[in-house]
Amino acid sequence: MTYFIAQILPYITVTVFVLGVVYRLWRWAASRIVHNITLSPFPQTKTEVAGIYLREILLFRNVFNFDRPLWVGAWPMHIALLNVIGGHVVGFYFLGKQFVYLGASEALSKYLSNLLGTVFGIILLAGLLYLLYRRIAIDKVRQVSNPSDYLMLLLLISIVSIGNFMRLVPEYGMHYEPVKEYFTTLILFQPAAIPEGNPFFIIHLLLAQILIMILPFSKLMHLFGMFGMRWIENRVYKEPAPGLPNVDVAAARARGTGLSSASSTDVA
């Protein structure tokens, strides 16, 4: 089983993920933008359009403005998720010494890497639990939820909980080096067995792979969908020039159009 999860499944996961995402994006691309449904006020330049994208992606501005209680959970959760995913890549690749490139000592870098991982892991878990709470306890959110919405949160919570557990309980912790070695062998298509028999790591790995495989067939595609939707709705639109043909207001007022003294055939 461990052999399957660690040495075979990863290749299936990547294949399903890539094909799945391509399939979904192809479906989107195959349909067209039929009507101009740009939201106003209209951006006047591409820079303004980019500004809208950025403020929504980086700050979740709409969530902040229109549903503050959601923002309190959703924004930190996503920022933590981004850092945790980035941390996995960078941390394992540089073995925790990534901050050396920013001028830190090796010991400090490892310390920072650990600290940030722990902090973001906890923020992520707290954010997810908060979102789950909303889905269960708040009427309007419960009313829009499908079973899969809860399952998706539970899956994420499981992955993150196990990750946090490994980080916080040293006996079950994983060191950077063996994990890096394992992933290196995976990438070289000569998958080696997982070095230690750490059941938490195996479950963490399994659940993460399940998540990655589900992603293209789930609402997690909002990661790409938001770009697709904004691409339709936030575009440059230039207004046609105002001003009416053959109109000279000063002359009309001098003639006194509309006033009884003026001739009724006052239009030129």
């Binding site: 929504e56 549903d67 309007k140 829009v144 969908g225 938001m226 207001v249």
Partner: protein
Amino acid sequence: MPEYKGLKMPAKASAEEMRQIHIEPVPDDQKVEMAIQYLDEMRKKFRSFVLAMESCVKCGLCAENCHTYLGTRDPNNIPTNRAELIRKIYRRYFTLEGRWFGKLVGAEDLNLDIIEQWYSYFYQCNECRRCAHVCPFGIDTCEVTMIGRQILHWLGIVPKLHASVGAAMERTGNHTGLTKPAIVDTLEFLSEEIKDEFGVDVEFPVDKEGADIMYVPSSADFLLNPYTLMGAGMFFTYIGANWTIPSTITEAGNFGLLFDQQHTMRHNFTRLLHAAQKLGVKKIVWGECGHGWRAWKMYLPGMADLPLRWPITHIHDEVAYYIRTNQLKLDPYKLGRPVTLHDPCNYVRACGLAETMRTVIRACVADFREMYPNKENNFCCGGGSAILFDDPEMYQLRIKFSQKKAEQVRATGVGKDGNGILCAPCSICKAQLYPMVEEHELGVEVKGLIDLVGMALVWK
């Protein structure tokens, strides 16, 4: 008032009425099959629809940002749930996860009950696009409503109101069935009214060949909102324009946008282009109509099938231009009443008129008070997309849908002394708000924006 398993729904057009708008109603036993086929067609065409189907995360943000949910607390009036009525069918038939996991991912077989639910809830949507504006991803539930209504139309299910308006438009070129003699007659009457009330001579030229400007008013202005038409007439006379009103399309609205964005909408577009060609005009100016302006401004260029020969602008744009260039003399103190502005959804979220309207209203009104939220954040009046049904139960819904608007108007305090004005420069907003300001006892009178321009013009 048809009853169907407790669903609230407006009276449906009869089979004969459907045939008048070129649709042969689909028999009940084929409805499900045909609906799936039409849905398949739609999803292959409209990316805005596909993305609304496939990328919603159900965060629930839209719920309290939709006035229909705020007014009714009906879970199916939460925008994402309104979309879910189609989304569950879409998942079932057009996605792998829906085919494999069914109910677990919220997929469901289509049946007649669900089609009736579509009819009920897609005609409880005002298509105001506040949900698109507030959604973190910009998912536009209005697009889903529009596609739902399109499929219903093809199945032969359209409210009596919309079908009869569609038929009247085709027969006469306007929604209220005005013939040319009636149009000329009404306009002569309005000239007299202007003379009596404002002491100026205004002529309304109809079908004047060789005019420079073609003004397309809302046909409701002839009957319900005369001051809007009078205001436009006074504006054009004031600036000495060579203008005309076409009798073949005396309609700023386009119900095609609301129930059939294919045949009906295109038919109306063609009608306009013919009229402009025949009269040899140089520019087309649009009257006060929210959904109509969206259709003609944003949809016409893509559906005309040719590069447009005539620039089309909104009368607010033109008035604002002459105000900005200091060519109009307006006296904001003439009115002497407090005014607040209701931003029609289509103007502020689809057509970019928010600042334009303010330029105009500030020049015409001394005591102008903003309501909040406003501009693109504004709430709909509750009549959007012409769900102006008079069936008693639907009328109750209209009162609920306008609840948020009533709160907003009250907060401005313009109705405190009972002499306030609620400026709502859109025919549907006006039609909705005339009775609603009474229902909610707001102490305000509903007026258009051009009405206020006409009243503020200084002629000497």
